[in-house]
Symmetry: D2
Subunit: 369 residues, 4 copies
């Protein structure tokens, strides 16, 4: 099969022919239909995670995976209700199953866990082996480009916003901010509307085109942060919402500046959640944090249940996407565009799975866009 593999840091992926993977008795072989391209793939290649993850090269990146069930291991129980040909998505945190986090379903933060594309082979390939417990069947078929991104870009802000909801800071007379309007942000604004029980949702970003999409996605107000001071932003917030402070904020960017701005605008007893990872530092003043009784949550990817919930929304037609369909051959060009921030919405590699034959021979004709 064809796979795009990484042989070391700061090098292009190598698109090459490799053996189709074997599955163990509790795995399922998934024929990849769509593979989302994520900013963290660029970070992986650029070495951002070098301290945290130690992969053995070559590895196959790609952690946003949707596909068809191609083969099922002998010990996959019937209760899993999986059949050849089912459309499935892959929940991407694979834990050891016995630690404290796994026992409450948070396999994505298992200390002995792994994530496809960051160790186990990922979705930048025609097939990928997946533990059966990590698959979610899609009842009502959706397009590959609308499924794959849900497994990370489309579910990560969802989990983050659930933390804000649980913190009790969302409701009709509240103001909630979304920082960022790219991959994660364009989903975040939609969940902000769905989960906030009527809060006013304000999107902060620097790209006017992305902000315009955020408005279409349901933002009550948008604020372009480019070249504006905290005071400027506060004044604009007052003008648009009648309030000078944010009750809640999700940061889909993760730059030092977005974190500073977010806390700088946060109301007493407000809550802030970080999902974005563009920067690598939290650097904010202590006194307002303590005296304002702020709460700050880290939120990482999402667990199986979060993804199930997001898929329910998707199947109800409640999620809109900004997608750039891409060809597998163009993967390195697309990673480069992603690195430069030039992609509006999400780039998704779409495979022509209909051409696939049941005997594991793989059609090489990739989709053109």
């Amino acid at each position: 099969m064809l796979a795009a593999r990484m042989y070391g840091y700061k090098q292009p992926l190598v698109l090459e022919d490799v053996e189709t993977p074997q599955i163990s008795s509790t795995q399922v072989l998934v024929r990849v239909g769509g593979a989302g391209m994520c900013r963290s793939d660029v970070q992986l290649i650029d070495g951002y995670f070098e301290g945290a993850i130690k992969p053995k090269f070559p590895i196959t990146p790609g952690h946003e995976i949707a596909g068809l069930v191609e083969a099922i291991g002998d010990d996959v129980p019937e209760t899993a209700k999986l059949a050849i040909g089912d459309q499935v998505v892959v929940a991407a945190g694979w834990g050891d199953g016995i630690c404290r986090q796994c026992r409450v379903g948070n396999e994505q933060i298992c200390e002995h866990g792994s994530w496809p594309g960051f160790g186990p082979p990922g979705g930048y390939a025609e097939f990928v082996p997946v533990p059966y417990r990590q698959l979610i069947r899609v009842e009502k078929k959706l397009k590959w480009e609308e499924l794959a991104p849900l497994t990370d870009a489309g579910v990560t802000p969802y989990r983050g916003i659930k933390k804000l909801r649980a913190a009790g800071v969302l409701g009709p007379d509240r103001v909630m901010a979304v920082f960022g309007a790219s991959g994660l942000g364009s989903y975040a604004v939609q969940y902000a509307k769905l989960l906030s029980s009527g809060a006013t949702v304000v999107v902060f970003a620097r790209n006017q085109e992305k902000l315009a999409i955020a408005k279409e996605r349901g933002a009550d107000c948008i604020i372009n942060t480019r070249d504006k001071s905290l005071n400027d932003l506060r004044n604009e917030l007052v003008r648009l919402t009648g309030k000078a402070k944010l009750d809640a904020a999700i940061d889909c960017v993760g730059a030092v500046e977005t974190i500073q701005t977010g806390f700088g605008l946060l109301a007493t007893a407000g809550a802030f959640v970080s999902v974005g990872l563009v920067g690598n530092r939290i650097d904010i003043p202590l006194f307002p944090f303590t005296a304002g009784e702020f709460t700050y949550h880290g939120s990482f990817w999402a667990n199986y249940s979060d993804l199930q919930e997001v898929l329910t929304l998707a199947q109800q037609g409640k999620i809109q996407h900004s997608i750039k369909r891409s060809r597998f051959q163009d993967i390195n060009e697309n990673l480069e565009m992603l690195r430069r921030g030039d992609i509006i919405g999400r780039a998704v590699i779409v495979f022509d799975v209909n051409a696939a034959t049941p005997d594991h021979k793989v059609g090489r004709d990739l989709v053109s866009v």
Copy 2:
């Protein structure tokens, strides 16, 4: 009456004779029995809060106040159950009563609120006027030096630890850390034992004498952090507790280093709460915060209910104190010692209230220690 007043930043207080305050119809005049001396008094004098609080000089500091009811305003309702001569403590956050925070009882973080000693006259005086809603009657009389510090040093870590308890990270197989073993820390260790449902409590500090007291107060383990790296500390933690990570931590210091150490040792999904304010910056790495799904709470002072709970514990004899009784005349010397970190436990000015006459003339003979 005698009062110690502040006429400007970075100057000693002036101990002088001023008029005994008049009370409004909903206030109570309290004859001060004990006034705790707090590191934040030093910070007030040194200008730490200059950006946040704009007092009109002269002001009378002193926010840890216990005393006797001397006079009661005409509109104080009977339901308040206050009588002349009652022993009372002062809850120190006085809110506007109608904002969102006040409506849930968190007057100490009211944006239009005030705190005695930081604007309204405080306890470095023989009398202080207090809104009746802010007084808690002590049923079972306690010593002044064991009451006054409860209103800040003795209640601030209590509120912080309640936030950790509410976060669901305390229990029998958990490790909880207290950073700091001074004023707040020596109380924190006791609440850690009382509120953690059986967690192993580890105190981290740099002063061996204070650590020894923490051990007496119930710490399961103590770790001296002086000249140790994060790795050293982790190894010591493993040796003492069998675990390499902290499930929960309260920082009673607030230095950049204690925050970094605390998060450096925090377990996945762990919770950290800041009550200490020695430093003025939070500066920690973003990726472990997000990927570890840490939760970080600011906790500020305490509200009326928190103080009621702490007083219940005190009246049950469950709180031990490390007190240095002081004379009012020596206030500037004591502030200087506090600035240098030379006071073990809490310094409390104790007034000789027994010499007081009922007609508001005040005995000038202060207690010797």
Copy 3:
């Protein structure tokens, strides 16, 4: 002024001319614009609350009150931002201000509290005195008949549903039930949609006309319970939603049967909240309750913040009403219709406040409908 007063149980109200009330220094005199008629007024007259409330007759019922500020007590602070002529609604739980419940804002369940219309004079009169802290100003003027019912029928289910939201059982792949489609139920269905983060909302009731309105108000499905067994209802639920169990339910009725049906359909770890009070007994089997780890919440009326949130929704045009405007003269006839369950939606007495003169003389010409 004209007032409708109750002289004893099981008697019609007496519409009579009484003196306009004096206000204390912290009260506001409100000229009643609209007074909602509630099933609990009928219960009050019929003696349902005889064990719980001991009023001194005569009393003026009417606890759903909206009006205009007519006069302001001398000690009402400026921070309250109330001016003559302001449109206001009355939060109806008036607590002692110092108990545990009041300190967290739940004055409506203060053990020493009172409720206008159940002791203090209520809204079945041209004027009513109200403590200033219990008034909420309406920024964007609304009709009397759309304001008054919000203070009970329109806020009580809101608080109940907030308890379900806090219980963590609402979300995209959940089924939430509303039992009842009358006064409270027709609001509940709207909040269910607003607060449930995408749950499927099913309304259960016996009156097809009311069910049809519930559908218009946003119910995803409606189920007529008349003459149906639990099995019938479960089958209908499966047919409509694909699921056999409810994750959450709010009971706006409170009959023995609705409680039994609700718990009979509840899913493992489901949550149920009672706001309705038609019956007076909870009678359900123990084993499924325990083995299913159900949670059951009582929810009573609402507090100030709940009402503020509902008013925010109302001013954003997010709440629809089913109102029967009534004349003050017809109050006893309307109470009788309410007793028989013959009113669709909410009956609201609307006063012609425009005819009112500033000198407290009251126009007697009531609105015709």
Copy 4:
């Protein structure tokens, strides 16, 4: 091997020689060291669960199991850290692993789950096969009679009290009640002290001998309920605690009367949790439940993490037991005593596992007591 098996309702168990069970590749064979005898075994025999559980006879009861690892299936991973000879206890809810409840670790309430002793063979036998994920290794060896009961009697009230703790109603100035002082109750009182952050703990029961043990186990007060009215009990509560109401209560009995008494004494916004199942009905008045904003939790058995926490406490020596060691031969006599309520504390069958040989031949000499 020897097993005590149930061939139908309302018959004695049959102690007979049966084949030692085979294990699957993911199971572990446990040589039973101790098997706790539970009131629910009597209920099982008497048909209480007939509607809920449909076992195929014969079944081997016994769900409180501690033992030694005798054999390990081939696919049990090394990460499970289990070795032949390890002392282990059995977590007793075995779920399907993929439903919503299992995904958050609550396998004991899985709708497709099972419990050893209620379907799968239980601990009234010399050996029992157990899925490896359900075993918890005991690091610091404990006596069989102190281990086995922890898996139900000793962990069920622990989970219940955690629900009260999470409800936010435990703390220094609170009163918490334990109803019942038998098997579950004598553990509940200890957890009440450990988890309640300083609440006053009151035990209500009818047996003075059991109450005396509760006092020894840490109860602050005990109240004998025999022949007392609700008013009598309230007066006694006031006399002992100074308060007339309970902030929290756990019912380890489950009789109609204990539930009525518990709610009859509950304070506004109080929380009640049912773990006992002696009766089969909840029958309480609706109005006080709703108007008092009570919260009522069902709590069923416990999950793996709960048991891990309880074992941590046990290994720290923080749990005291009231045990009656029994011989396997006397099982029917002991069940009869249990039915009559004549056992103080917990009866535990203790096997002489030291006589066991490694080759799966089983010593028949049971322990005498």
